[in-house]
């Protein structure tokens, strides 16, 4: 499927390539090659801009940051890197994430392979969801993923314990942790299965006005 898509999109690009003006001197293909890079950049940023909450300029700045993370892996220019992925260990070292107790989960939730390797698209996606513009709905979805440590689509006691331990840096006693877990599940569990499904989670989040302002990272 991926290959068919690639052929489709490259076909589209070739067919709509705007710089085919001097066909007498140069073959369209050569001309296309010549201007490929800048158009590619324009095209990709346009697409990224339409898919995320960033402007073109911000996307380019983000790319700079992405390049900084792994200068030997990521090329300077924007294109030609569909397969480059930066591993989790490098991303987690960003100052924005470094001190965040959920940093590994954040990166994992946004990586396509679930292991924390981020392509540039994933990277932009991550900060787009964490940006100011993203709606509560979208933020809630990814917050749920972040707190779902064992990736079973439920926030069970285990997840809550891990969350709490990270939140409080183990300042609560184990009994208190258990108590908080029980109480908070009890409070917001609607269908009585003793764990929070996404529906429960969103129902709870929608009543917390703070969530929008706290689930936000300035990049």
């Amino acid at each position: 499927m991926a290959t068919s898509h690639a052929s489709v999109s490259s076909h589209a690009k070739a067919a709509h390539n705007p710089k085919l003006q001097d066909s007498r001197c140069l073959s369209p293909l050569l001309e296309w090659m010549k201007h490929h890079i800048e158009h590619q950049t324009a095209l990709e940023t346009t697409i990224l801009k339409d898919c995320t909450y960033f402007t073109r300029k911000e996307i380019l700045r983000l790319h700079g940051r992405y390049h900084e993370l792994a200068p030997h892996l990521v090329p300077m220019d924007y294109t030609n890197e569909p397969d480059v992925k930066v591993p989790l260990a490098l991303i987690v070292n960003m100052p924005e994430l470094k001190e965040n107790p959920f940093r590994n989960r954040i990166v994992e939730s946004f990586s396509e392979d679930g292991m924390g390797n981020l392509s540039f698209n994933d990277f932009v996606d991550m900060f787009s969801v964490l940006s100011e513009m993203a709606p509560r709905e979208l933020k809630a979805i990814y917050a749920f993923k972040i707190y779902d440590f064992n990736v079973d689509n439920f926030l069970c006691k285990e997840d809550l314990e891990k969350t709490l331990n990270r939140l409080t840096k183990e300042e609560l006693t184990p009994e208190e942790v258990v108590l908080v877990c029980e109480k908070s599940i009890e409070e917001s569990d609607l269908d009585g299965d003793n764990k929070l499904s996404f529906a429960d989670f969103e129902n709870m989040i929608s009543r917390a006005p703070e969530f929008l302002s706290t689930f936000h990272i300035r990049i």
């Binding site: 898509h5 999109s9 589209a12 709509h16 705007p18 710089k19 085919l20 003006q21 324009a42 095209l43 697409i47 898919c51 995320t52 402007t55 073109r56 001190e99 965040n100 396509e112 679930g114 994933d122 787009s128 964490l130 709905e137 979805i141 917050a143 749920f144 993923k145 079973d152 689509n153 069970c156 006691k157 285990e158 709490l164 939140l167 300042e171 609560l172 908080v180 109480k183 908070s184 409070e187 609607l190 269908d191 009585g192 299965d193 003793n194 499904s197 996404f198 529906a199 989670f201 969103e202 129902n203 709870m204 009543r207 917390a208 006005p209 302002s213 706290t214 689930f215 936000h216 300035r218």
Partner: protein, 855 residues
């Protein structure tokens, strides 16, 4: 409808079953029969119909969940439907933490795991079909009501969406067809809707990119955009567009491109991006809200300044002759606004009352008409009219922007709150993801754990009865505190009143027997006395209030904040009220006694002085209150603690300064510029001081809530008060006779009347305009009456609507709870059935559960 009948049947069977619990097999039969029918019938429409009421409010839905793990392969996803063979290394995840689950059979678990509310988050198919539904809804709405912009956010993904999850073969192809349908729908949406839809999709960017780049979506407009950018002439022949539409298209493209560039320019104006980031990284959302508020005020002032600068200051500066400054600068003018500033574009008195024309400036002092005086230029600029309308329009637009901001913030931060799940909210929503500094992170987790402990204690305690003597003591303490604060406020107000009266009399005395031996500097400096007194009151009393509040011992920090805000606000409003009376009631009513040539300029200077003095006192406060106090307490008292940044007080000071700026803009068109400078300085000063001297606040600060409160305060007493003052001045106070654009008129609004009369005399078709003017501006009673009536009616309707919505929300919340109960009931029932049937026909159960997973 067929499905609903089925449901009824189902219900009937259940009822029968309750009456005679013997015949379980029959129930089970009917259930599987039903499931089969459902699987065949694809009851998506019924489902949509059923869920329609949920669209009313998206907070109260229980059916959302389109959580995707985009990286998942289809086969993985497929296997996730069967928890006991989960490959992620978490076998039997369903069984954790539930006392009853252990008893449940695998068949039940399978059904459970394929229930809509649980499959919802797993498959890309579900997400895609949900968004397909949304696009369909959007299209439908577009057809009926083309202007609607919001899309429903609560459509339940159709049952069709789950069909693909567990059926072995149809999975992949079905997803593909759904994808195609979604792509089709996206293509048919308008560009902005499509972008919004794409952005809000919880899929990975690469997947969105696929949607975006599918050939059908990579639509004509993109092609045109590129072609336009690179080679317009040839591109059109390529894209096979009809000739007639080329022109239109190119126009659209040009417009769109300028719009895009404007937008990118606006978004690149992210002022203080890094500064705000460092502040939020260290101090969190609470302190950040102060700086964001400051930035908002800065934008308001930039708007005001650009309006007045463009329409008042610039024409006047261009058309008038050079400055005729008589006195040399002494430095004191910067504080008092007097001296060479008096006769400059800064103040009202300098503005002409004539119609400015090209190469021809008509100055006719003491003339009661503003007609053109025989000078034939093409460019007219009627200064009085411009003055009147510029100020009016600036206030109107500021009002609109304020109300709009307020509306948006209210929508975000005030939700109908039963506050049941406080603990869960604390766990999941209290971490501030912005914080980047190590020590702050540590402090934050300490804060959260103390809060959690407190909450736990509260849960355990459950509202003990406070003994009556303690309660009485608390109440009497509060009464004492309030009376102290009220008393001191009253004392200050009285003091300001008498002091301003004294200063007024003093000025009168000086005006009557002008003493040539007295240095003008002393006279100028004596004008500063009142601002100094008021600013020091503003500085000292909040400290007093804080001391009182610390004795009072409020239990909740938010209560304490509100009390502090209301006390400070009371003080500032009453002081400003007295000052307004002083300016408009004493000075403007009787300018002759002061031998003032132009009382507007004098009042403008007063406001300027207040603004500058406020700024100076803030600097002093920052220096002494934060910097020196930190040095003192660290070096001498050897305490580790640093002062805490008082967000509420600082924001209120900003609001106070902004009120002055708004009040003064009529008399001092350049006052917004002064305010801009002040805010710029303030930002850097406060930031430096914060970084150097302050520590992270320990109390939780409900940032979004408080921002709403502050914007409301900015709108209600501050802006409205200023607007009332300005309107009062324009409507009922006689302007000076020898200066300013309104000289010779009885009130400022008469400039409009003259203009309308003039228009009427030149063009008789515009008679209606004068009629409108008479009734709107000159006899505003009828007009205002109608406006108030309309407002009251609108507000009444809105409260009614909100009331209704509140009722619906409670109903929906009940419904959610009921559904949870139903689910529990059904699950246990299902389990019971399975238990009974297991020995007899395990094969059949398997089939049933396979089918039922479609349900």
């Amino acid at each position: 409808m067929a499905q609903s009948v089925n449901f009824d049947q189902f219900a009937d069977h259940l009822e029968e079953d309750m009456e005679s619990p013997v015949d379980e097999a029959a129930v089970h039969d009917s259930f599987s029969h039903l499931i089969e029918e459902q699987a065949l019938g694809f009851p998506g429409d019924f489902d949509a119909l059923q869920m329609d009421p949920l669209d009313l409010d998206d907070e109260a839905r229980d059916d959302v969940g389109y959580l995707g793990y985009p990286g998942q392969r289809p086969e993985e996803r497929y296997q996730q439907g069967h928890p006991h063979v989960d490959q992620r290394g978490h076998p039997h995840v369903e069984q954790r933490g539930h006392p009853h689950v252990d008893q449940w059979s695998s068949a039940t678990l399978r059904i459970l795991s394929s229930m809509p509310s649980r499959t919802i988050g797993r498959s890309r198919g579900a997400i895609i079909s949900q968004y397909y539904n949304r696009t369909m809804q959007l299209r439908r709405r577009k057809q009926s009501r083309p202007s609607i912009r919001d899309f429903s956010r609560s459509s339940r993904p159709s049952i069709r969406g789950y069909g693909g999850v567990d059926s072995d073969l149809g999975d992949f192809t079905e997803e593909e067809t759904k994808r195609e349908r979604l792509v089709n729908n996206l293509q048919n949406l308008s560009a902005s809707d499509r972008v919004r839809m794409l952005r809000a999709m919880p899929l990975s960017v690469s997947e969105k990119t696929e949607f975006r780049c599918s050939r059908s979506i990579l639509a004509v407009e993109d092609v045109i955009r590129w072609q336009e950018t690179f080679r317009p002439e040839r591109s059109y022949s390529r894209s096979n567009l009809p000739c007639c539409s080329q022109c239109k298209d190119s126009l659209i493209i040009v417009a769109r491109q300028t719009w895009y560039s404007c937008l990118s320019l606006l978004s690149s104006l992210q002022l203080w991006h890094t500064a705000l980031k460092t502040v939020s990284g260290r101090f969190g959302t609470g302190v950040l809200s102060y700086f964001v508020f400051l930035r908002t005020l800065l934008f308001f002032n930039i708007f005001l300044f650009s309006v007045t600068g463009l329409f008042l200051v610039l024409p006047q500066a261009v058309f008038s002759s050079g400055l005729n400054s008589t006195t040399g600068p002494s430095g004191l003018e910067l504080l008092t606004g007097g001296g060479c500033f008096t006769e400059s574009v800064m103040f009202y008195g300098y503005y002409t009352n004539a119609t400015l024309k090209e190469h021809c400036v008509q100055k006719e002092p003491n003339s009661s008409t503003v007609h053109q005086m025989g000078c034939h230029g093409r460019l007219y600029y009627n200064m009085p009219l411009a003055y009147f309308f510029t100020i009016g329009a600036a206030f109107l637009f500021t009002c609109i922007i304020l109300v709009y901001t307020m509306k948006k913030l209210f929508g975000q931060s005030f939700r109908i709150d039963k506050s049941q799940s406080i603990l869960a909210m604390k766990v999941f929503c209290s971490w501030d993801f912005k914080v980047m500094k190590k020590t702050s992170v540590k402090l934050q987790s300490e804060n959260i754990s103390t809060q959690l402990k407190e909450l736990l204690a509260e849960v355990g305690r459950k509202k003990e009865k406070v003994p009556i003597p303690q309660k009485l003591a608390w109440i009497s303490m509060n009464v004492l505190g309030w009376s102290l604060c009220l008393g001191s406020t009253l004392a200050c107000v009285v003091a300001v009143h008498y002091f301003s009266e004294y200063m007024h009399k003093d000025l009168q005395l000086r005006a009557r027997n002008s003493n040539p031996s007295e240095s003008p500097l002393v006279k100028e400096a004596s004008l500063l006395a009142l601002p100094v007194v008021v600013s020091s009151i503003n500085l000292l009393l909040p400290g007093f209030f804080n001391t009182v509040a610390s004795v009072e011992k409020y239990d909740s920090p938010s209560m304490r904040t509100y009390v502090a805000i209301s006390r400070n606000l009371m003080l500032k409003v009453s002081v400003l009220g007295i000052l307004c009376f002083h300016w408009l009631g004493r000075i403007a009513a009787d300018p002759q006694s002061l031998k003032l040539k132009c009382w507007e300029t004098f009042v403008g200077q007063e406001l300027y002085r207040f603004l500058v003095m406020d700024f100076i006192f803030t600097i002093l406060d920052t220096f002494f209150g934060e910097f020196l106090w930190r040095l003192f307490s660290q070096k001498l008292l050897r305490r580790k603690r640093k002062p805490v940044f008082d967000i509420a007080r600082n924001v209120l000071e900003l609001i106070y300064g902004q009120t002055l700026a708004w009040m003064g803009v009529l008399f001092t068109p350049l006052l917004p510029a002064v305010q801009i400078l002040k805010l710029l300085c303030l930002f850097y000063m406060k930031k430096t001081s914060l970084m150097m001297n302050c520590q992270v606040p320990r109390k939780p600060w409900h940032a979004s809530h408080m921002t709403t409160v502050f914007i409301t305060l900015l709108c209600f007493p501050s802006f409205l008060g200023a607007a009332v003052c300005v309107t009062l001045t324009m409507w009922s106070i006689k302007p000076s006779q020898s200066c300013g654009p309104f000289r010779g008129l009885q009130t400022m609004i008469q400039s409009g009347k003259h203009w309308v009369k003039q228009l009427e005399s030149t063009n008789s078709n515009l008679a209606w305009l004068s009629w409108v003017h008479t009734y709107l501006v000159e006899n505003p009673v009828v007009f205002i009456f109608f406006m108030v009536m309309i407002f009251v009616i609108v507000i009444y309707f809105h409260t009614q609507v909100v009331d209704g919505q509140r009722k619906i929300i409670t109903l929906l919340q009940d419904q959610i709870e009921n559904e949870g109960e139903d689910k529990k009931f059904l699950i246990t029932r299902l389990q019971a059935i399975h238990e009974q049937n297991r020995p007899s026909s395990s094969q059949r159960i398997r089939g049933t559960s396979e089918d039922s997973s479609d349900y």
